[in-house]
Symmetry: C2
Subunit: 514 residues, 2 copies
């Protein structure tokens, strides 16, 4: 049976384990869309803006450790997906982007949608290819999947000219050999052990070493050497809560980060990098390690992080197992809403096995510390600093894990960038409860204005950092996209709204008025 | 007096005539924001998503024929602006993008927001530069303005590392010599005249030749030669309505376009190009001109289009002036809403001197034909095919022309991409009346699915083209962002809602349920 290029690609994707597609198609992708009807096993999730597709693919990959795909409309569609592809790339999540393009023979005429798609793709992709013929499409797709799955996870962008989709294809292509995480060199282990034995050391975890398995080995290493365990400032996924290790992160504010690391004499990196300031500030350092601090790279992102930790535990003669201490849980607060009371309340409100998506920005600085003792959950944070991913991460995580509750901890300014994700949550009836911290400001920028030395700002500057005038009505916006919700102005109302949200079979949004 | 790099740039911009900035700033842009307080004459308009900034800059430039600026936060902020920069580039609008970047010495540490900004900028920019020192910033900015103003209008992207903003700058820089539109070669005029004299010819207008002045000359040429005057399919700005020439556009559907041009023996291009299909379709041609049709380029985009038309009229011995015939106006319809009745109603509802922004897509195919006899107005269409610009174009046009009424003719699917523009319209109290054609579908794609040969689509394909389940509540979404509105289900309700909108001092939205 003959199949066209588009169908050969869809079948190759399903066979290669890429069976979810976050789509925002246009004319040049119509054959791909048509092929979906003929192929079993591909779940398509429509998004009303392309930034939602890439953010959702990131959330999906973080929970599944395998790529979803996006379906995008030429250069501008890819452009709209770019910011969350940036975040996804920094999370080291795998993804397969399918970008429609003009028919090969049509490009020369410079039609309105003609653009340099490869040029737009390259800054956010590890692998970029334009299929040149319908008979290449399946093989190119298989190569793209293998590239995406290359540890620790890559961005593969396959550009699909319309005629390569509609002409006769060459059938399903087998997946090439996919790279696996490589073991670390014995020398890394030896030097890391030496660094930890010197005392006052920090083991800095990142990537998959922050899952439960890695934490248990890290706890053994800490028990033996007395080292401190820290996570990077922004992490793709940490398993945490009751029964897990209470791991703190390198703080975002420069002064706090410097204070945290000031007595550290050695830092061992495991899927992490030399701790770095998010931004530079006049007169402050870019790197947080104190002068003379020894930096040892135990394992690079793409290497076998948990295996490296096990080898290190072995080298150090660490105990075979250690008890994980019970984390304290603050009492349930009452009354006024503020970042501290909310943080304490979250320790009680996060349900068992939830997936928390943290784009809380300023409001959420203290959330982590207060929730070490909450019910076990996963914590997904913004890794690339491009705000506007939270609602999308939640969407993708909920598609990946339909049996788990997603809790979005969401700043208001950030939520606006990809607010269209709410509609997809409603259409797919996803179990996403979004808590909007409605402070009606780019609050982080008010601090940053001071941080960069711009004290005493005037009306014009402050107007650029305010989301008031008019206030956003989040309950109204969400309802307009099919997501029910309510407003909370006290801790008691927040708790009640969370209960209502958890009892709702689909998505729910709470505007938490600060 | 010493000023820092940021202030030297803002002052250079104001001195160079760039005095509107559509902003979505972040930390790396805080010195630029702080400088706004110290500099008179720069109007800053906050947008809650970067796609709004570039789309608004396009609307502004189309009405003012000079650049606005955007203020964007590193690579992802530029990425979010990219789709509408693509549209703006295809409109040949000028713009100056200011993109914040990490401090020069901080880039090496690969902080989360580090990306290849120049790489992202290049596919949508004519000019890209990263300032290397605070003392370069003003001069680089002046060069960028001159580049943006180079005819017919260019995209200039200046990347501003944070330390070049906060260190001491070198004062205001003078604007370099700005290029002007060049006269066309006499040979072009001679050959174009020859082509028109041959009969059955089409004069295809684009760019600024579609303003009133160009039309008057084109009408004289048509009176002499009997040629047909057509506009390109998508145009940045046409002055039209009562007293102007009733110019039809090359149709979007391939079969209609081929039929329109089938008897044409010569096409003379004036700020336009050889008519090309928007997309390729199996078995259909990419170019619309019939075989053997002579194609003559009278004037290229950057040349003096009106001067070229005048030279051509002279060469042909055309009459010095001709009367512009009165265009017919369909009677005001009643009852049911459909694309035809809406089109006829618009002929009566468009107010004097309005700016119509057309992103009506399928619903709007017939709007143009019915509104030749409406009150005089400007018509701004989507030039790059990247849907999601309409609300932004309206925003920018209203900032440019506060004394004129903007009417957005807006498809629902397209409106969702940059829905955040509504908030900016509310904050700035802009006179924008948006009519949302709520057909709850990517209706164009239903046609396109058939056009590419994918007939008889199944449930999965059709779901990807439907915006229902859940329906978007546009009045609710708009109200959530501070824009009042109402719903219309008949022509009478539409007329009443338009009157209400025109009587509202700020923005207003009408959900027109189809």
């Amino acid at each position: 049976m003959t199949m066209n290029g588009a169908e050969s690609l869809v079948r190759t994707m399903v066979a290669g384990g890429v069976d979810v597609c976050f789509t925002n198609p246009g004319t040049s992708e119509m054959h791909f869309v048509a092929a979906l009807d003929r192929v079993e096993g591909m779940r398509c999730v429509l998004c009303l803006f392309e930034g939602v597709t890439s953010g959702a693919a990131d959330g999906y990959a973080r929970m599944m450790d395998r790529p979803a795909s996006t379906l995008l409309h030429l250069g501008p569609g890819l452009g709209n997906a770019l910011a969350n592809l940036h975040n996804l790339k920094k999370a080291k999540s795998p993804v397969l982007n399918i970008v429609g393009e003009h028919a090969t023979y049509h490009r020369q005429y410079d039609a309105p949608l003609t653009s340099d798609i490869e040029g737009i793709a390259r800054p956010v992709s590890h692998w970029v290819k334009t299929s040149m013929s319908a008979t290449d499409v399946a093989r190119d797709g298989a190569e793209a999947i293998a590239s995406a799955m290359t540890p620790p996870g890559q961005v593969a962008t396959l550009i699909l000219p319309a005629d390569t989709a509609w002409n006769d294809g060459a059938g399903i292509a087998p997946l090439p050999r996919v790279a696996v995480r490589t073991p670390v060199a014995a020398e890394n282990v030896r030097r890391s052990a030496e660094a930890l034995r010197g005392g006052n050391a920090t083991l800095l975890l990142g990537g998959v070493s922050l899952r439960e398995r890695g934490q248990l080995v890290a706890a053994r290493i800490a028990a033996k050497t007395g080292c401190r365990i820290l996570a990077e400032t922004s992490n793709a996924r940490i398993q945490r809560g009751r029964g897990r290790l209470a791991i703190e992160r390198v703080p975002y504010p420069v002064d706090q980060a410097l204070a945290t690391l000031k007595d550290t004499r050695a830092i061992v990196l495991c899927g992490s990098k030399n701790p770095t300031a998010f931004f530079a500030y006049p007169g402050k350092p870019s790197l947080f390690a104190p002068e003379g601090c020894r930096i040892e790279r135990l394992a690079d992102y793409h290497e076998d992080l948990v295996g490296a930790l096990e080898a290190l535990a072995e080298e150090l003669g660490a105990p075979k197992s250690v008890a994980i201490p019970e984390a304290a849980k603050p009492p349930m607060p009452t009354g006024a809403l503020n970042p501290d009371s909310i943080a304490a309340a979250l320790a009680h409100l996060i349900p068992e096995n939830a997936i928390c998506v943290d784009e809380a920005v300023t409001t959420g600085r203290g959330f982590f510390k207060s929730t070490h003792g909450a019910a076990p959950h996963d914590w997904l944070a913004l890794t690339g600093g491009a705000i506007g991913e939270g609602l999308c991460l939640s969407t993708g995580a909920a598609v990946a894990c339909p049996d788990r509750q997603v809790i979005g901890l969401q700043a208001d300014g950030s939520a606006m960038y990809t607010v269209q994700a709410l509609w997809t949550q409603a259409r797919e009836k996803l179990r996403v409860l979004t808590l909007i911290w409605s402070n009606r400001a780019y609050a982080i920028l008010r601090h940053e204005l001071t941080n960069v030395g711009a004290t005493n700002p005037g009306r014009k500057a402050l107007d650029m950092l305010s989301l008031g005038d008019p206030d956003l009505d989040w309950v109204g916006i969400a309802r307009g996209m099919g997501v029910p919700g309510s407003r909370a102005t006290t801790i008691e109302e927040l708790a009640k709204a969370v209960r209502a949200g958890l009892a709702t079979p689909g998505p729910y949004l709470v505007e938490v008025v600060l």
